[in-house]
Amino acid sequence: MEDQVLSIRNLNAYFGDFHAVKNVSMKVYKNTITAIMGPSGCGKTTLIRCVNRLHELTEGAYTTGEIFLRNNNILSMNPIVIRRQIGMVFQKPNPFPTMSIYDNVVAGYKINGIKIDKTEMDAIVESSLKKAVLWDEVKDKLRQKGVFLSGGQQQRLCIARAIAMKPEIILLDEPTSALDPKSTLKIEELLEELKKDVTILIVTHNIAQAARISDYTAFMYLGELIEYDKSDKMFTSPSDPKTNEYLKGCFG
């Protein structure tokens, strides 16, 4: 069995009275890409937002259950500490508009007041941008604002920003849904490279994308985890009829 990084146990997430994630249990393995797919409103985004405790920023939102990062229960840790170990990339590219490309990459260090010297910071910027396959495109304009890049470049900048903190896991919430096919492909390729360093949990409503890049796939429907398995098995012989219907495009 592969090394397990994240273990979600009986997780429930609520927005006030609305029960968005229902009793989900699943394990995420080291250096793999795990895709969570399902139709809109199935709770897949809420699920990953529980992992870095962003869910609770919404007024009236709360969770029950446990999420273990190795031996620590994320849900009982300080959210500030846990968020530095778990990176996140959002659906809409959101580089910080007031910051340069350089400052965007090291924003995590600057905002948190982590002091590192200039050469080390330069090295972090270069290696993060290289891993995000953006270095060659921006190395001559690191002092320019990040918002002047194209959508796909902005999203790769956000990936660089997330991995600059050297997280153990990165969460991606439909990272390519606002991008064109070419930019999408570029990000999918870099994720395959990236999984050598970091464990990836990606939410997508694009079945083909899940099939292309993921090692494991979870299928959620109406807040419940319907099926969770290796992607090879899931996409060839799903065991649940609902998964089968979804893959055939009957709903979602």
Binding site: L57, R83, F96, P97, T98, G108, I111, A162
Partner: protein
Amino acid sequence: MSHFFSKERRSETIFRWLLLSSSFLIILIIFSIALTLVIESFPSIKHNGLSLLTGDIWDPVSEKYSVLPFIVGTFITSILALIISIPFSIAASLYLGEYAEGKRSSIIIKSVLDLLAGIPSIIYGFWGLMVLVPVVRKFEEILGIPPLGIGIFTASLILSIMIIPYTTSIAREVIRLVPQDIKEAAYSLGATRFEVIRDIVIPYAKSGIFAGILLSFGRAFGETMAVTMVIGNANYIPKSLFAPANTMASVIANEFAEATSDLYLSTLVSLGLVLLITSLVVNSIGRFIITRFYVK
């Protein structure tokens, strides 16, 4: 069909013409105000010359007129008022726009602020005379300076209260508009709420916050009634922050009724012209700064 079409066309033309002429009327009014001030100022400019701006004596009896004391008085009272009010307005706008956005407390505070903005300035003047002046007098006794109670400091205090709603409402609005996804990105990197405000919200909203401060400054700059009542109406360049003084607006309000000679009256009008020009300059500089630092 063609009849229908042409009728549509005609009403469209009339409507556009109506909009255009209204806009043009505004320009015309502003221009005629400026023109009136300039024409009425001629006798003053002819008699006083450059000493209107350079001297430091305002003595209507001997017909020596210099407006410098009032320019100084205006700048000192408005800047001091800004310094006093900014911490309160920024704090209030952060609370309203970031912490309490959409909550009941936000709605209540916002309505009270709107109410504060709607209080006639004469009421502020009364309140300043009856409440602030005695308090400042006590304060001056403690400091060991002549306990007048009235003066620049009192005027700035009353002005700072009057302008808080202006900065706060504009700053609150821009703080509220900082996109949620950018704030979430900062949270996802492990930022605390304070760090999000310091590194994301304020840099993003700073041009708007500045616009709010500028609006307040303009308001403080030209405020007349409340200032006239508590500033002490002394026509010389103030020696301390507690000294009685006059602003451009307050001296006009105070002396307009007793300006018996044509020259006296014309000089007050020329002071009005100086007030108009300085307001315009201050506003233009502010607008330049706003566009310079506008995000995106």
